[in-house]
Amino acid sequence: MTPVSFLEGYIATLAILLGVFLYWLPDLTPRTIRLGVRVPPERTDDPAVLRSIRRFRAGALLSLALALLAIVGIPATGIGGIADRLVPVAGIFLLVAGSLVSYVVFRGQLLHVKEEEHWMQGRAGMSVAAGWSAPKPSARHLGLWILPSLLLLGAVWGAGLFLYPGLPAEIPVHYTLSGSVNAWAPKSFLVAFSLPLVGAAILTLFALLSWVITRTRTELGPREDWASEHRRQGIFRERMAALLLGVAAIVEAQLAFLSLLLWGAIAPPASGWVLAVALAPALLVVALVLTVSVRTGQLGARIPAPAGPAGGPSSGPSVRAYGPERDDDRFWKGGILYYNPDDSSILVAKRFGVGWTFNFGHPVSWVALLAPFLLLGIALVLLAHL
Protein backbone atom coordinates (compact mmCIF):
# COMPACT_ATOMS: atom_id res chain seq x y z
CA MET A 1 0.00 0.00 0.00
CA THR A 2 1.55 3.30 -1.03
CA PRO A 3 1.17 6.30 1.29
CA VAL A 4 -0.97 8.18 -1.22
CA SER A 5 -3.58 5.46 -1.55
CA PHE A 6 -3.67 5.23 2.24
CA LEU A 7 -4.35 8.96 2.30
CA GLU A 8 -7.09 8.52 -0.30
CA GLY A 9 -8.79 5.88 1.78
CA TYR A 10 -8.49 8.07 4.84
CA ILE A 11 -10.02 11.13 3.21
CA ALA A 12 -12.73 9.01 1.59
CA THR A 13 -13.61 7.71 5.07
CA LEU A 14 -13.81 11.27 6.37
CA ALA A 15 -16.02 12.24 3.42
CA ILE A 16 -18.39 9.32 3.99
CA LEU A 17 -18.69 10.12 7.72
CA LEU A 18 -19.37 13.75 6.91
CA GLY A 19 -21.83 12.83 4.13
CA VAL A 20 -23.82 10.54 6.40
CA PHE A 21 -23.91 13.30 9.00
CA LEU A 22 -25.16 15.87 6.48
CA TYR A 23 -27.83 13.44 5.28
CA TRP A 24 -28.93 13.03 8.89
CA LEU A 25 -28.80 16.71 9.78
CA PRO A 26 -32.51 17.56 9.12
CA ASP A 27 -33.42 15.04 11.85
CA LEU A 28 -31.02 16.52 14.37
CA THR A 29 -32.63 19.94 14.81
CA PRO A 30 -35.63 20.76 17.04
CA ARG A 31 -38.95 19.73 15.49
CA THR A 32 -40.22 23.24 14.82
CA ILE A 33 -37.13 24.12 12.80
CA ARG A 34 -37.32 22.21 9.54
CA LEU A 35 -34.42 22.65 7.16
CA GLY A 36 -33.63 25.92 8.92
CA VAL A 37 -37.17 27.26 8.62
CA ARG A 38 -39.32 27.96 11.68
CA VAL A 39 -42.64 26.15 11.23
CA PRO A 40 -45.68 25.88 13.51
CA PRO A 41 -45.87 22.57 15.45
CA GLU A 42 -48.66 21.16 13.26
CA ARG A 43 -46.64 21.72 10.07
CA THR A 44 -43.53 19.79 11.00
CA ASP A 45 -44.46 16.96 8.63
CA ASP A 46 -46.20 19.01 5.98
CA PRO A 47 -45.69 17.57 2.45
CA ALA A 48 -43.79 20.73 1.46
CA VAL A 49 -41.44 20.26 4.42
CA LEU A 50 -40.79 16.62 3.63
CA ARG A 51 -40.27 17.39 -0.06
CA SER A 52 -37.67 20.07 0.71
CA ILE A 53 -35.83 17.73 3.07
CA ARG A 54 -35.85 14.93 0.46
CA ARG A 55 -34.39 17.29 -2.12
CA PHE A 56 -31.75 18.56 0.27
CA ARG A 57 -30.76 14.98 0.98
CA ALA A 58 -30.56 14.13 -2.71
CA GLY A 59 -28.25 17.13 -3.10
CA ALA A 60 -26.08 16.01 -0.19
CA LEU A 61 -25.81 12.47 -1.57
CA LEU A 62 -24.93 13.80 -5.02
CA SER A 63 -22.23 15.96 -3.47
CA LEU A 64 -20.88 12.93 -1.62
CA ALA A 65 -20.80 10.88 -4.81
CA LEU A 66 -18.93 13.64 -6.65
CA ALA A 67 -16.56 14.06 -3.71
CA LEU A 68 -15.74 10.33 -3.61
CA LEU A 69 -15.19 10.36 -7.36
CA ALA A 70 -12.76 13.26 -6.95
CA ILE A 71 -10.96 11.65 -4.02
CA VAL A 72 -10.56 8.13 -5.34
CA GLY A 73 -11.04 8.58 -9.07
CA ILE A 74 -9.03 11.56 -10.23
CA PRO A 75 -5.53 10.68 -8.99
CA ALA A 76 -5.92 7.36 -10.77
CA THR A 77 -6.32 9.18 -14.07
CA GLY A 78 -2.65 10.03 -13.68
CA ILE A 79 -2.55 13.79 -13.41
CA GLY A 80 0.08 13.14 -10.79
CA GLY A 81 2.24 15.63 -8.95
CA ILE A 82 0.72 18.10 -6.55
CA ALA A 83 -2.77 17.37 -7.88
CA ASP A 84 -2.60 13.97 -6.24
CA ARG A 85 -2.40 15.67 -2.86
CA LEU A 86 -4.83 18.53 -3.52
CA VAL A 87 -7.67 16.63 -5.17
CA PRO A 88 -8.67 14.63 -2.07
CA VAL A 89 -8.87 17.81 -0.02
CA ALA A 90 -10.86 19.45 -2.81
CA GLY A 91 -13.21 16.45 -2.58
CA ILE A 92 -14.10 17.32 1.01
CA PHE A 93 -14.59 20.93 -0.04
CA LEU A 94 -16.89 19.76 -2.85
CA LEU A 95 -19.00 17.78 -0.38
CA VAL A 96 -19.41 20.69 2.01
CA ALA A 97 -20.01 23.30 -0.70
CA GLY A 98 -22.47 21.07 -2.59
CA SER A 99 -24.47 20.32 0.54
CA LEU A 100 -24.47 23.99 1.47
CA VAL A 101 -25.85 24.99 -1.93
CA SER A 102 -28.47 22.25 -1.64
CA TYR A 103 -29.46 23.57 1.79
CA VAL A 104 -29.67 27.21 0.72
CA VAL A 105 -31.73 26.39 -2.39
CA PHE A 106 -34.24 23.99 -0.82
CA ARG A 107 -34.53 25.99 2.37
CA GLY A 108 -35.38 28.98 0.17
CA GLN A 109 -38.07 26.88 -1.53
CA LEU A 110 -39.59 25.87 1.79
CA LEU A 111 -39.47 29.45 3.03
CA HIS A 112 -41.33 30.50 -0.10
CA VAL A 113 -44.11 27.92 0.46
CA LYS A 114 -44.36 28.94 4.10
CA GLU A 115 -44.85 32.57 3.16
CA GLU A 116 -47.19 31.85 0.22
CA GLU A 117 -49.45 29.74 2.41
CA HIS A 118 -49.17 32.07 5.44
CA TRP A 119 -48.22 29.28 7.82
CA MET A 120 -47.40 31.66 10.63
CA GLN A 121 -50.21 34.14 10.05
CA GLY A 122 -52.91 34.72 12.63
CA ARG A 123 -51.01 32.87 15.29
CA ALA A 124 -51.49 35.23 18.17
CA GLY A 125 -48.81 35.00 20.77
CA MET A 126 -45.68 34.45 18.79
CA SER A 127 -43.45 34.57 21.75
CA VAL A 128 -40.22 33.71 23.35
CA ALA A 129 -40.24 32.95 26.99
CA ALA A 130 -37.62 33.09 29.64
CA GLY A 131 -37.62 32.21 33.27
CA TRP A 132 -34.86 32.39 35.75
CA SER A 133 -31.37 31.52 34.68
CA ALA A 134 -31.04 27.95 33.47
CA PRO A 135 -29.53 25.47 35.89
CA LYS A 136 -25.81 25.98 35.61
CA PRO A 137 -23.76 22.91 34.78
CA SER A 138 -21.72 22.11 37.81
CA ALA A 139 -18.14 23.29 37.62
CA ARG A 140 -17.28 19.88 39.06
CA HIS A 141 -18.26 18.17 35.79
CA LEU A 142 -16.22 20.56 33.67
CA GLY A 143 -13.32 20.12 36.09
CA LEU A 144 -13.53 16.38 35.60
CA TRP A 145 -13.52 16.66 31.82
CA ILE A 146 -10.59 19.05 31.70
CA LEU A 147 -8.49 16.84 33.97
CA PRO A 148 -7.03 14.48 31.29
CA SER A 149 -5.86 17.45 29.21
CA LEU A 150 -4.34 19.16 32.23
CA LEU A 151 -2.52 15.99 33.28
CA LEU A 152 -1.17 15.44 29.75
CA LEU A 153 -0.06 19.04 29.42
CA GLY A 154 1.53 19.02 32.87
CA ALA A 155 3.36 15.76 32.12
CA VAL A 156 4.73 17.15 28.85
CA TRP A 157 5.97 20.34 30.49
CA GLY A 158 7.51 18.32 33.30
CA ALA A 159 9.22 15.96 30.87
CA GLY A 160 10.36 18.89 28.73
CA LEU A 161 11.92 20.78 31.62
CA PHE A 162 13.62 17.55 32.72
CA LEU A 163 14.95 16.71 29.23
CA TYR A 164 15.86 20.24 28.08
CA PRO A 165 19.41 20.40 29.53
CA GLY A 166 20.29 17.15 27.78
CA LEU A 167 18.92 18.09 24.35
CA PRO A 168 21.42 18.33 21.45
CA ALA A 169 22.39 21.74 20.01
CA GLU A 170 20.21 21.05 16.97
CA ILE A 171 16.63 19.90 17.42
CA PRO A 172 14.60 18.15 14.70
CA VAL A 173 11.54 20.24 13.85
CA HIS A 174 10.01 18.46 10.88
CA TYR A 175 9.52 14.91 9.71
CA THR A 176 8.68 13.50 6.30
CA LEU A 177 5.78 11.10 5.86
CA SER A 178 8.23 8.21 5.87
CA GLY A 179 9.55 9.23 9.28
CA SER A 180 12.94 10.77 8.60
CA VAL A 181 13.91 14.23 9.84
CA ASN A 182 14.04 16.87 7.11
CA ALA A 183 14.46 20.07 9.12
CA TRP A 184 16.57 21.02 12.12
CA ALA A 185 16.75 24.17 14.23
CA PRO A 186 19.29 25.43 16.78
CA LYS A 187 18.28 24.62 20.33
CA SER A 188 16.33 27.28 22.15
CA PHE A 189 13.48 27.33 24.65
CA LEU A 190 11.02 28.55 22.03
CA VAL A 191 11.96 25.81 19.55
CA ALA A 192 12.02 23.01 22.11
CA PHE A 193 8.75 24.05 23.71
CA SER A 194 6.87 25.17 20.62
CA LEU A 195 4.43 22.24 20.78
CA PRO A 196 3.76 22.40 24.54
CA LEU A 197 3.18 26.15 24.11
CA VAL A 198 0.66 25.45 21.35
CA GLY A 199 -0.88 22.82 23.62
CA ALA A 200 -1.27 25.33 26.45
CA ALA A 201 -2.84 27.88 24.08
CA ILE A 202 -5.28 25.30 22.68
CA LEU A 203 -6.30 24.09 26.12
CA THR A 204 -6.86 27.67 27.29
CA LEU A 205 -9.02 28.36 24.25
CA PHE A 206 -11.04 25.15 24.61
CA ALA A 207 -11.56 25.64 28.33
CA LEU A 208 -12.74 29.18 27.66
CA LEU A 209 -15.10 28.00 24.92
CA SER A 210 -16.55 25.23 27.06
CA TRP A 211 -17.20 27.76 29.80
CA VAL A 212 -18.79 30.19 27.34
CA ILE A 213 -21.19 27.64 25.87
CA THR A 214 -22.49 26.65 29.29
CA ARG A 215 -23.72 30.23 29.54
CA THR A 216 -25.65 30.31 26.26
CA ARG A 217 -29.39 30.73 26.38
CA THR A 218 -32.07 28.12 26.82
CA GLU A 219 -34.49 28.43 23.92
CA LEU A 220 -37.97 28.28 25.36
CA GLY A 221 -41.44 28.84 23.98
CA PRO A 222 -44.57 29.82 25.86
CA ARG A 223 -46.06 26.31 25.62
CA GLU A 224 -43.02 24.47 26.86
CA ASP A 225 -42.75 22.06 29.71
CA TRP A 226 -40.14 24.37 31.15
CA ALA A 227 -38.56 22.19 33.76
CA SER A 228 -37.98 19.33 31.35
CA GLU A 229 -36.78 21.65 28.59
CA HIS A 230 -34.36 23.41 30.94
CA ARG A 231 -32.93 20.04 31.89
CA ARG A 232 -32.75 18.84 28.30
CA GLN A 233 -30.86 21.91 27.10
CA GLY A 234 -28.72 21.84 30.23
CA ILE A 235 -27.65 18.30 29.31
CA PHE A 236 -27.03 19.45 25.74
CA ARG A 237 -24.73 22.29 26.84
CA GLU A 238 -22.90 20.07 29.27
CA ARG A 239 -22.36 17.36 26.65
CA MET A 240 -21.05 19.89 24.16
CA ALA A 241 -18.66 21.30 26.76
CA ALA A 242 -17.51 17.77 27.59
CA LEU A 243 -17.09 17.05 23.87
CA LEU A 244 -14.88 20.12 23.46
CA LEU A 245 -12.72 19.08 26.39
CA GLY A 246 -12.61 15.50 25.06
CA VAL A 247 -11.35 16.81 21.72
CA ALA A 248 -8.82 18.92 23.65
CA ALA A 249 -7.56 15.75 25.36
CA ILE A 250 -7.01 14.03 22.00
CA VAL A 251 -5.15 17.06 20.66
CA GLU A 252 -3.03 17.28 23.83
CA ALA A 253 -2.19 13.57 23.57
CA GLN A 254 -1.02 13.99 20.00
CA LEU A 255 1.04 17.06 20.86
CA ALA A 256 2.56 15.21 23.83
CA PHE A 257 3.53 12.32 21.56
CA LEU A 258 5.08 14.66 18.99
CA SER A 259 6.96 16.60 21.67
CA LEU A 260 8.52 13.45 23.09
CA LEU A 261 9.41 12.43 19.54
CA LEU A 262 11.17 15.75 18.85
CA TRP A 263 13.04 15.58 22.15
CA GLY A 264 14.26 12.09 21.23
CA ALA A 265 12.64 10.61 24.34
CA ILE A 266 10.84 8.00 22.24
CA ALA A 267 11.81 6.32 18.99
CA PRO A 268 9.88 7.32 15.87
CA PRO A 269 7.29 4.70 14.87
CA ALA A 270 8.07 2.27 12.08
CA SER A 271 7.82 4.05 8.73
CA GLY A 272 4.57 2.35 7.76
CA TRP A 273 2.94 3.63 10.95
CA VAL A 274 3.93 7.28 10.71
CA LEU A 275 0.92 8.22 8.64
CA ALA A 276 -1.45 6.22 10.82
CA VAL A 277 -0.11 7.84 13.98
CA ALA A 278 -0.35 11.28 12.37
CA LEU A 279 -3.87 10.86 11.01
CA ALA A 280 -5.64 8.65 13.56
CA PRO A 281 -6.31 11.45 16.08
CA ALA A 282 -8.11 13.58 13.47
CA LEU A 283 -10.31 10.64 12.50
CA LEU A 284 -11.00 9.99 16.17
CA VAL A 285 -11.98 13.64 16.67
CA VAL A 286 -14.35 13.57 13.68
CA ALA A 287 -15.92 10.29 14.78
CA LEU A 288 -16.35 11.58 18.34
CA VAL A 289 -17.87 14.90 17.27
CA LEU A 290 -20.28 13.23 14.84
CA THR A 291 -21.33 10.51 17.30
CA VAL A 292 -22.04 12.94 20.13
CA SER A 293 -23.83 15.33 17.74
CA VAL A 294 -26.08 12.59 16.35
CA ARG A 295 -26.90 11.19 19.77
CA THR A 296 -27.59 14.60 21.30
CA GLY A 297 -29.13 16.63 18.49
CA GLN A 298 -29.26 20.40 18.27
CA LEU A 299 -30.37 21.84 21.63
CA GLY A 300 -30.70 18.25 22.82
CA ALA A 301 -33.45 17.51 20.28
CA ARG A 302 -32.54 13.82 20.35
CA ILE A 303 -32.21 13.50 24.10
CA PRO A 304 -35.32 11.83 25.53
CA ALA A 305 -37.06 14.30 27.83
CA PRO A 306 -35.35 13.68 31.16
CA ALA A 307 -37.70 12.66 33.94
CA GLY A 308 -38.18 15.51 36.35
CA PRO A 309 -37.76 15.27 40.08
CA ALA A 310 -41.44 16.16 40.43
CA GLY A 311 -42.42 13.05 38.48
CA GLY A 312 -44.87 14.32 35.89
CA PRO A 313 -45.82 12.44 32.76
CA SER A 314 -43.01 10.14 31.69
CA SER A 315 -42.21 11.84 28.45
CA GLY A 316 -40.42 9.74 25.89
CA PRO A 317 -38.28 10.97 23.03
CA SER A 318 -41.47 11.67 21.08
CA VAL A 319 -42.36 14.51 23.44
CA ARG A 320 -40.73 17.37 21.65
CA ALA A 321 -40.09 20.91 22.58
CA TYR A 322 -42.23 23.51 20.85
CA GLY A 323 -39.46 26.06 20.92
CA PRO A 324 -39.91 29.80 20.65
CA GLU A 325 -43.02 30.58 18.61
CA ARG A 326 -41.59 33.58 16.91
CA ASP A 327 -41.13 33.86 13.17
CA ASP A 328 -37.41 34.59 13.34
CA ASP A 329 -36.40 33.40 9.87
CA ARG A 330 -35.60 36.95 8.79
CA PHE A 331 -32.63 37.06 11.18
CA TRP A 332 -31.01 34.08 9.44
CA LYS A 333 -29.30 35.30 6.31
CA GLY A 334 -29.35 32.42 3.85
CA GLY A 335 -30.35 30.22 6.76
CA ILE A 336 -26.76 30.25 7.97
CA LEU A 337 -25.65 33.64 9.30
CA TYR A 338 -27.54 35.12 12.22
CA TYR A 339 -27.80 38.90 12.19
CA ASN A 340 -29.95 40.48 14.89
CA PRO A 341 -28.59 43.70 16.41
CA ASP A 342 -31.49 43.69 18.91
CA ASP A 343 -30.39 40.37 20.39
CA SER A 344 -28.01 40.67 23.34
CA SER A 345 -26.63 37.17 22.79
CA ILE A 346 -23.25 36.78 21.15
CA LEU A 347 -23.49 33.02 20.61
CA VAL A 348 -26.78 31.57 19.38
CA ALA A 349 -27.78 27.98 18.59
CA LYS A 350 -27.15 27.18 14.93
CA ARG A 351 -30.19 27.01 12.70
CA PHE A 352 -28.99 23.97 10.80
CA GLY A 353 -26.36 21.97 12.58
CA VAL A 354 -25.35 21.10 16.09
CA GLY A 355 -23.68 23.78 18.16
CA TRP A 356 -23.52 27.55 18.14
CA THR A 357 -22.76 30.37 15.78
CA PHE A 358 -22.08 34.07 16.15
CA ASN A 359 -24.70 36.78 16.17
CA PHE A 360 -23.15 39.01 13.53
CA GLY A 361 -25.38 41.85 14.67
CA HIS A 362 -23.39 41.99 17.91
CA PRO A 363 -20.10 43.93 17.76
CA VAL A 364 -18.40 41.54 20.19
CA SER A 365 -18.83 38.72 17.63
CA TRP A 366 -16.63 40.61 15.19
CA VAL A 367 -14.04 41.27 17.89
CA ALA A 368 -14.04 37.57 18.83
CA LEU A 369 -13.68 36.55 15.18
CA LEU A 370 -10.92 39.01 14.37
CA ALA A 371 -8.99 38.71 17.65
CA PRO A 372 -7.19 35.45 16.73
CA PHE A 373 -5.88 37.02 13.51
CA LEU A 374 -4.84 40.14 15.38
CA LEU A 375 -3.04 38.08 18.04
CA LEU A 376 -1.36 35.97 15.37
CA GLY A 377 -0.21 39.14 13.61
CA ILE A 378 1.20 40.59 16.82
CA ALA A 379 2.91 37.30 17.63
CA LEU A 380 4.51 37.17 14.16
CA VAL A 381 5.73 40.76 14.43
CA LEU A 382 7.17 40.08 17.88
CA LEU A 383 8.89 36.89 16.67
CA ALA A 384 10.39 38.73 13.71
CA HIS A 385 11.90 41.30 16.08
CA LEU A 386 13.40 38.74 18.45
Binding site: A124, V128, A129, G131, W132, R217, P222, W226, R326, D342
Partner: protein
Amino acid sequence: MTVGSETREPPSFRFVVDFDSPVPVYRQIHQAVVEGIADGRLPEGARLPSSRRLASDLAIHYHTVNKAYDLLRREGFLALTRRKELRVLRPHVGDREGFLRDWSGRQETLLSEALAHGLTPPEVESRLRELLVRRGARHPGTARSGA
Protein backbone atom coordinates in the same frame (compact mmCIF):
# COMPACT_ATOMS: atom_id res chain seq x y z
CA MET B 1 -28.65 21.33 39.10
CA THR B 2 -28.09 22.47 42.61
CA VAL B 3 -29.51 25.89 43.20
CA GLY B 4 -28.51 27.83 46.29
CA SER B 5 -31.22 27.29 48.86
CA GLU B 6 -31.52 30.96 49.64
CA THR B 7 -31.92 32.09 46.03
CA ARG B 8 -34.28 29.31 44.98
CA GLU B 9 -36.11 30.37 41.89
CA PRO B 10 -39.87 30.66 42.06
CA PRO B 11 -40.83 28.06 39.44
CA SER B 12 -44.28 29.41 38.72
CA PHE B 13 -43.11 32.74 37.38
CA ARG B 14 -42.00 33.15 33.79
CA PHE B 15 -41.64 35.90 31.29
CA VAL B 16 -43.49 35.51 28.03
CA VAL B 17 -43.03 38.17 25.39
CA ASP B 18 -45.37 38.51 22.45
CA PHE B 19 -43.54 40.13 19.55
CA ASP B 20 -46.73 40.64 17.54
CA SER B 21 -48.41 42.56 20.34
CA PRO B 22 -48.91 46.31 19.96
CA VAL B 23 -47.73 46.61 23.59
CA PRO B 24 -44.00 47.42 23.58
CA VAL B 25 -41.76 44.64 24.84
CA TYR B 26 -40.48 46.67 27.82
CA ARG B 27 -44.09 47.27 28.85
CA GLN B 28 -44.80 43.54 28.64
CA ILE B 29 -41.88 42.80 30.96
CA HIS B 30 -43.02 45.54 33.32
CA GLN B 31 -46.56 44.18 33.37
CA ALA B 32 -45.39 40.62 33.94
CA VAL B 33 -43.45 41.63 37.06
CA VAL B 34 -46.27 43.77 38.45
CA GLU B 35 -48.77 40.95 37.90
CA GLY B 36 -46.41 38.48 39.51
CA ILE B 37 -46.12 40.70 42.58
CA ALA B 38 -49.88 41.28 42.68
CA ASP B 39 -50.83 37.61 42.64
CA GLY B 40 -48.04 36.41 44.89
CA ARG B 41 -45.96 34.44 42.42
CA LEU B 42 -43.20 36.96 43.07
CA PRO B 43 -42.94 37.18 46.84
CA GLU B 44 -40.99 39.94 48.52
CA GLY B 45 -37.28 39.25 48.22
CA ALA B 46 -37.57 37.09 45.11
CA ARG B 47 -34.63 37.50 42.79
CA LEU B 48 -35.05 38.59 39.18
CA PRO B 49 -32.62 37.64 36.43
CA SER B 50 -30.05 40.28 35.51
CA SER B 51 -31.01 42.45 32.57
CA ARG B 52 -28.30 40.91 30.41
CA ARG B 53 -29.40 37.39 31.24
CA LEU B 54 -33.07 38.10 30.60
CA ALA B 55 -32.32 39.99 27.39
CA SER B 56 -30.22 37.12 26.11
CA ASP B 57 -32.92 34.56 27.02
CA LEU B 58 -35.63 36.57 25.27
CA ALA B 59 -33.42 37.44 22.27
CA ILE B 60 -33.92 41.16 22.85
CA HIS B 61 -31.62 44.11 23.54
CA TYR B 62 -30.64 44.57 27.16
CA HIS B 63 -31.61 48.24 26.92
CA THR B 64 -35.19 47.02 26.57
CA VAL B 65 -34.96 45.03 29.78
CA ASN B 66 -33.16 47.91 31.51
CA LYS B 67 -35.99 50.21 30.55
CA ALA B 68 -38.53 47.91 32.19
CA TYR B 69 -36.36 47.35 35.28
CA ASP B 70 -35.65 51.08 35.68
CA LEU B 71 -39.34 51.80 35.56
CA LEU B 72 -40.02 49.10 38.15
CA ARG B 73 -37.30 50.49 40.41
CA ARG B 74 -38.67 54.00 40.13
CA GLU B 75 -42.08 52.65 41.07
CA GLY B 76 -40.56 50.92 44.07
CA PHE B 77 -41.22 47.33 42.96
CA LEU B 78 -37.57 46.37 42.66
CA ALA B 79 -34.39 47.17 44.51
CA LEU B 80 -30.78 46.53 43.71
CA THR B 81 -29.02 44.81 46.61
CA ARG B 82 -25.42 45.46 47.57
CA ARG B 83 -24.47 42.33 45.65
CA LYS B 84 -26.04 43.86 42.54
CA GLU B 85 -28.97 41.49 42.58
CA LEU B 86 -32.45 42.63 41.72
CA ARG B 87 -34.92 41.82 44.44
CA VAL B 88 -38.66 42.24 44.54
CA LEU B 89 -40.02 44.79 47.01
CA ARG B 90 -43.47 45.71 48.07
CA PRO B 91 -43.67 49.48 47.76
CA HIS B 92 -43.59 51.13 51.17
CA VAL B 93 -46.55 52.79 52.77
CA GLY B 94 -44.81 56.14 52.38
CA ASP B 95 -45.09 55.89 48.59
CA ARG B 96 -48.82 55.45 48.83
CA GLU B 97 -49.83 59.11 48.28
CA GLY B 98 -47.95 59.50 45.03
CA PHE B 99 -48.99 56.09 43.83
CA LEU B 100 -52.67 56.70 44.48
CA ARG B 101 -52.57 59.98 42.59
CA ASP B 102 -50.92 58.35 39.59
CA TRP B 103 -53.16 55.27 39.71
CA SER B 104 -56.34 57.33 39.91
CA GLY B 105 -55.23 59.26 36.88
CA ARG B 106 -54.72 56.10 34.87
CA GLN B 107 -58.01 54.72 36.12
CA GLU B 108 -59.80 57.79 34.91
CA THR B 109 -58.40 57.17 31.45
CA LEU B 110 -59.55 53.55 31.51
CA LEU B 111 -62.96 54.51 32.83
CA SER B 112 -63.41 57.20 30.18
CA GLU B 113 -62.47 54.66 27.51
CA ALA B 114 -65.13 52.26 28.76
CA LEU B 115 -67.80 54.97 28.96
CA ALA B 116 -66.85 56.31 25.52
CA HIS B 117 -67.32 52.81 24.15
CA GLY B 118 -70.81 52.83 25.59
CA LEU B 119 -70.43 50.65 28.68
CA THR B 120 -72.86 51.56 31.44
CA PRO B 121 -71.60 52.21 34.99
CA PRO B 122 -73.15 48.94 36.30
CA GLU B 123 -71.43 47.04 33.51
CA VAL B 124 -68.10 48.65 34.41
CA GLU B 125 -68.68 47.84 38.04
CA SER B 126 -69.49 44.18 37.44
CA ARG B 127 -66.48 43.77 35.18
CA LEU B 128 -64.23 45.31 37.76
CA ARG B 129 -65.62 43.02 40.45
CA GLU B 130 -65.14 40.03 38.19
CA LEU B 131 -61.48 40.95 37.71
CA LEU B 132 -60.97 41.38 41.43
CA VAL B 133 -62.63 38.07 42.21
CA ARG B 134 -60.50 36.31 39.63
CA ARG B 135 -57.28 37.65 41.13
CA GLY B 136 -58.47 37.14 44.71
CA ALA B 137 -59.72 33.61 44.06
CA ARG B 138 -56.46 32.57 42.46
CA HIS B 139 -54.35 33.92 45.29
CA PRO B 140 -56.37 34.19 48.44
CA GLY B 141 -53.35 34.51 50.70
CA THR B 142 -51.89 37.65 49.16
CA ALA B 143 -54.53 40.18 50.18
CA ARG B 144 -52.39 41.88 52.79
CA SER B 145 -53.91 44.54 55.04
CA GLY B 146 -51.78 47.64 55.06
CA ALA B 147 -50.41 48.89 58.37
